[in-house]
């Protein structure tokens, strides 16, 4: 065996040659002794569903280390919010978690209401609950069905995407928009739940459970699916808490923290629902917890539709609630308020308020500091994705590339919320 047949021998020859010619250019030797490959996963990889870059060190097919790079769609929302009046910030919140924008919109409006001390009538609160739970269902449907796609099952995705489309039609009836909804107003909703919206909602509540059941039948005990997700990317409850996990990912690890139950907002205390928890915190648990949350959200919507109280759909807060168009055309006061609100001439009281809602991915917090001006002095978004995505390298290390994709998918990292 010649000297240069072995790795050690090759290195030795290389070192000796380098010693004889100091300062001269030497060919770069591939360091096969480590046999690590650097793999650039992303920024635009079709299986990552967003712009995430991960620089992975691979030992064969095993991931040895990963370094995530984020910020590819950073749009400086916190800076922009320092210049925008409160209504214009709603459109920024749309673009954070764009899979469940109504939760962001209404969470933001509730924050402003808390600052202003506006009490929202029961009917508006119930409509908000319905819309937020619809958004949660849409969010979880996307996450779980995409997880199916990533494990090779496309059918489930198509089944439930039709239902997501119907949810978007209900959004359309309520606010006129589909994806970036800009829903609600400070003080209530912009319009009442119309008969058409209620009809669509009732029809959907009848048809959806069968589809969901079919989706669950296809996945929950599917041998191929389970082989791909059980014990993939587990995280312990302590680790998850330390990493700041919230929402379904934390509940999958076995911690029953849900903002809706712990700090109820918008009349969530009126409804009966369970908080599903997992045990291992692995991909399968995250999938099952999300599925179960969809059923619980359905329970909440059913109760809210049944108990929907009569009454006004917005608070009597003319300084902050944008008046309806017919009023603006006929009524002087309404015209003045419309003008002042649209021009952002409404001053908010001095104060600081932290308001958290249960977003699709966890505790979505708005920390608003007002110095009494027309815009926030500082607005900080607690974005659940941003906070829990930092655990991703730890969860992915030791798994294979295909598992890493599944873990990323099951964590439901939304690029818009991650980068804000």
């Amino acid at each position: 065996m010649a000297v240069n047949d072995t790795l050690e021998g090759t290195h030795k020859i290389h070192e000796e040659a380098a010693a004889q010619r100091p300062g001269q250019l030497m060919p770069i030797l591939n360091d096969f002794s480590q046999e690590l490959t650097t793999l650039n996963l992303g920024p635009t990889h079709p299986a990552t569903h967003g712009i995430f870059q991960n620089i992975l060190q691979m030992d064969g097919e095993r991931i040895v280390s990963g370094v995530p790079t984020i910020g590819y769609i950073h749009r400086a929302f916190e800076k922009l919010a320092e210049r925008k009046p409160f209504y214009q910030i709603t459109t920024l919140t749309d673009r954070m978690n764009y899979c469940s924008s109504p939760i962001n919109n209404l969470g933001w409006h509730m924050t402003v209401e808390k600052l202003l001390g506006v009490t929202v009538p029961k009917r508006a609160q119930y409509i908000r609950v319905i819309m937020m739970e619809l958004a949660r269902i849409a969010d979880h449907l996307i996450c779980n069905s995409i997880l199916g796609v990533d494990t090779g099952a496309f059918t489930g995705f198509l089944y439930v995407f039709q239902e997501r489309e119907k949810i978007y039609e209900i959004y359309e009836e309520v606010c006129g928009a589909r994806l970036t909804t800009n829903m609600g107003r400070v003080g209530g909703m912009e319009r009442d739940l119309s008969p058409a919206a209620l009809d669509k909602l009732r029809a959907w509540l009848k048809s959806f459970p069968a589809v969901m059941k079919e989706f669950e039948n296809m996945f929950n005990r599917n041998r191929i699916f389970m082989d791909r997700v059980v014990n993939v990317g587990p995280i312990s409850a302590e680790k998850a808490l330390s990493y700041g996990f919230t929402g379904p990912n934390l509940r999958a690890a076995g911690v029953d923290y849900d903002v809706r139950a712990m700090n109820p907002y918008s009349s969530y205390e009126d409804f009966e629902f369970d908080i599903p928890v997992g045990t291992n915190g692995d991909t399968y648990d995250r999938f099952i917890v999300r599925n179960e949350e969809i059923w619980q959200s359905l329970r909440i919507i059913n109760q809210a539709v049944d108990k929907l109280p009569e009454g006004p759909y917005h608070a009597d807060a003319p300084h902050y609630y944008l008046p309806t168009k017919p009023e603006v055309y006929k009524n002087m006061e309404a015209l003045i308020y419309h003008f002042k609100i649209v021009m952002g001439e409404i001053d908010a009281p001095v104060g600081e308020v932290y308001h958290a809602v249960e977003g699709g991915n966890g505790e979505l917090g708005f920390y608003l500091i007002s110095d009494g001006g027309r815009t926030p002095y500082r607005l900080h978004f607690r974005r659940p994705c941003f906070i829990y995505y930092q655990a991703y390298p730890e969860m992915a290390v030791g798994t294979t590339l295909s598992d890493a994709i599944v873990i990323l998918s099951s964590m439901n990292v939304i690029a818009g919320e991650l980068d804000a």
């Binding site: 910020g71 400086a76 922009l80 700041g244 700090n263 001439e345 607690r382 941003f386 655990a391």
Partner: protein
Amino acid sequence: MTPQDAAAAPEAPVAEDPIKAQNAQVLALLMRLFGEATFTDVHEPYGLLTATTTREKIHEIIAGLQQDQELKFHFLTTMCGINYPENEGKELGMIYHLHSMTKNIRLRLKIFFPIADAVVPTLTDLYNTANWMEREAYDFFGIVFTGHPNLIRILNVEDMDYFPMRREYPVEDGTREDKTDLFFGR
């Protein structure tokens, strides 16, 4: 009816606000654990206990709160930087939101320090989640966290040479005139 009774009478019918009572308890405990002089500017905006302390004490306080068997502040909800340019000597600040899930108590702690010496101890040894939050604060406010394992920019490009969330950088170019509004003055 004695004068003592008269003084006590108006207090009795007032229903004790549970949040206020809880905050008072937490505050008493904080004062006992870390000393009364540690906390200044204590108030409760919208029911959330808020206190200002110093950067020398912050690590000790949060570590103490995390290990405290009664309160168990195991969860760091969020932290963010803030800039008050007109606050001489205390231009920059960090605001911490802690959450005790077992007792459902939230707590907000603030520290302020000069912009020329924006150095704060890291919390990464207490909470894993502090890592990216501190990188974000560094990225946007230039707050340096001593002991942070990887303090580099996170959302902005690496070669950015300023800290964009500081108030000295306006959102819009100040020399633009096409957006000036003669009636509303902005």
